[in-house]
């Protein structure tokens, strides 16, 4: 078990700076998720922690040791690759045992560990097969098994679920959560799927363009996003942004007094239908996506701002009839239009 510290960590390929001076503290046993759009440097950061990518600046420490110059296998980390990266010419057993053999562990001990891991992951019957003869989900388990047997202090996952179909993704996600519970190791998990991030993480690190936008627990990020990027990145559908001019005359006074330079952020699920005279916003709708338990209603305000409201019951009135929507003022997020920062 170990904590992990990044101090001023940077990465550049030639003159292209990919990661800019990142500071991050991860405590022992924490489940941390790196999330962000494609190309923001999630994998690069993870690979620097793994030791597969040279560190251009700053220090990576695991426990109390700076590991910048330590070989990957000596860092006490194990990695699960997006493509699984199993050894195609070895059986499942040997895939898992390979690292332990390199460490010159006695045979009986290797055997014990491999069988234990196989038990945890339910792949006991597959030990003699080669990866070619496994399904995607089974390969994924073997890849995780290969990490488990090494009993690392830190697990690193790079988008481990992206090659699985939707149903299997949900199931494997749960299994990873359970695994964390059981082993109690520090885990760092990369994804660009914010649902995975929300469900798995103790702590989410939102990255953009090689920089950290915000670090916090899933609920912190959901309830108090520090800027417009995080506000729209976390939560689905993404947060609606309004202008001062979109508000109705009847909007609560604390909202009426915001100025033109403020972005008003309201999540779809916080909007609800109300009767005329109580509304915060009025709008017409074009499209209703009925999802069963609720409906996503695509609306436009009279000022032309498009937004989505998540309603329990879709509006019964016609499309030209205005919809009256309200929100409680404490569920409104205000951002500075110029800097994008939370007010």
């Amino acid at each position: 078990m170990a904590s992990l510290t990044l101090r001023d960590v940077a990465k550049a390929y030639g003159s292209t700076r990919v990661i800019e001076s990142i500071d991050l503290d991860i405590t022992d046993g924490e489940f941390v998720v790196f999330v962000g759009p494609s190309g923001c440097g999630k994998s690069t950061l993870l690979r620097m922690i793994a030791g597969l990518e040279e560190i251009s600046g700053g220090d990576v420490s695991i426990g109390d040791t700076v590991v910048n110059e330590v070989a990957p296998a000596k860092r006490g980390v194990a990695m699960v690759f997006q493509t699984y990266a199993l050894y195609p010419h070895m059986t499942v057993y040997n895939n898992m045992a390979f690292g332990l053999k390199q460490a010159k562990m006695p045979k009986d001990q290797i055997d014990k560990r491999v069988r234990e891991a196989a038990d945890i992951l339910d792949i006991g019957p597959l030990l003699d097969r080669t990866p070619r003869a496994l399904s995607g989900g089974q390969r994924q388990r073997v890849a995780i098994g290969r990490a488990i047997v090494r009993e690392p202090e830190v697990f690193l996952f790079d988008e481990p679920l992206s090659n699985l179909d939707a149903a299997l993704r949900v199931q494997t996600r749960l299994e990873i959560a359970r695994l964390h519970e059981r082993l109690g190791s520090t885990m760092i998990y990369v994804t660009h799927d914010q649902v995975e991030a929300m469900t798995l993480a103790d702590k989410i690190v939102v990255l953009r363009g090689g920089d950290i936008e915000q670090v916090g627990s899933p609920m912190e990020l959901y309830e108090r996003p520090q800027n417009t990027f995080v506000a729209q990145f976390i939560g689905s559908p993404k947060m609606n942004f309004f202008n001062h001019s979109d508000l109705a005359q009847t909007a609560p006074p604390e909202l009426r007094q915001v100025d033109e330079d403020t972005i008003i952020g309201i999540r779809s699920e916080h909007l609800s239908l109300c009767s005329a005279g109580e509304e915060t916003l009025s709008a017409t709708y074009e499209l209703v996506e009925q999802l069963g338990e609720h409906a996503l209603v695509h609306c436009t305000t009279s000022g032309g701002t498009e937004f989505i409201a998540k309603l329990d019951v879709p509006p019964q009135s016609g499309r030209d009839v205005p919809l009256y929507l309200r929100v409680s003022p404490d569920q409104v997020h205000l951002f500075n239009r110029e800097t994008g920062l939370r007010k």
Binding site: G51, A71, A73, V77, Q82, H89, F98
Partner: protein, 278 residues
């Protein structure tokens, strides 16, 4: 539908026929060579005896009696085997480094290596002969021939291996790094088992190139390290053109390699297409 059927019928007849014609054109010189090797020198030049003639083993018997065929053959085997082994021994780590730890200059190095094949061999004939004979004193030694064959083939071998290694996902090598395997272990336990087919066809091709090499083996040897190429050459020059005898020597020289190629056809095709066809 009818048109499609017609087309496939036409294609089904046309392409095999064309393939056979081309194959026969390519095969004819070898057929003619083998045929001539069973004729007397006198018969060999007479057109009327092209197909119908009195076959004789005289040429082959002469060959082993007069020219010590086996010594030349042994030299060919020794130089080709050692050159192939040495080339792979250098080429595998080199291609590995370039495929998985490329630097900014890797592409340039690859091009540069290929460019050495563009230098006309004749241009360095004099310095090579002079240096090895008068300066280094390694003229006509196995060592020299092995060295020369290795250096000639190294660029193409590295190119081929590089292409094969490139097809192996980088993550598998990285997984090895995470598992703590040493560089040699990575080559031995991960790279070679995965690229085995490619390495084998590269080795085979390299061996064939070594065996067939004539320009340098003829010019840098006299007797000690002389290979089968030299034997053919020797039968041509001093006593004029004795077609029957020359054909027998040639047949005996290319025979082993053709048999080898025949048995390893599949590997070879894979090798020659540089892994493009799987």
């Amino acid at each position: 539908m009818a048109i499609v059927a017609q087309e496939t019928k036409f294609a089904r007849i046309f392409w095999p026929v064309l393939a056979w014609i081309v194959a026969l054109i390519f095969f004819f010189p070898i057929f003619w060579l083998v045929l001539t090797s069973f004729k007397t020198d006198a018969d060999a030049v007479k057109p009327e005896y092209l197909i119908m003639f009195q076959p004789t083993l005289e040429n082959y018997l002469n060959m082993t009696e007069n020219y010590d065929y086996w010594r030349f053959a042994l030299n060919s085997v020794i130089t080709s085997v050692f050159a192939t082994v040495f080339t792979l021994f250098v080429g595998v780590p080199c291609a590995y480094a370039m495929a998985f730890n490329p630097s900014r200059h890797t592409k340039d190095v690859l091009m540069w290596m290929l460019s050495t094949k563009m230098l006309p061999a004749a241009a360095v004939l004099y310095p090579m002969t002079f240096l090895t004979k008068n300066f280094l004193g390694i003229f006509d030694t196995h060592f020299l021939i092995i060295l020369v064959l290795s250096l000639i083939n190294l660029p193409i071998v590295i190119w081929m291996l590089f292409t094969y290694f490139k097809e192996i996902p980088k993550e598998i090598i990285e997984a090895g790094k995470m598992d703590g395997v040493s560089t040699w272990g990575e080559i031995r336990d991960i790279l070679l088992p995965l690229a085995w087919g490619g390495v084998a066809s590269t080795a085979l091709l390299c061996f064939i190139f070594c065996w067939n090499e004539a320009y340098w083996t003829v010019r840098l040897t006299t007797t000690e390290a002389a290979t089968l190429s030299k034997l053919i050459e020797g039968n041509r020059a001093p006593e004029g053109l004795f077609f029957g005898r020359l054909s027998a020597v040639s047949t005996a020289a290319v025979g082993p390699i053709i048999v080898l190629g025949w048995f390893c056809q599949k590997q070879l095709v894979q090798g020659l297409t540089f892994g493009a066809v799987k």
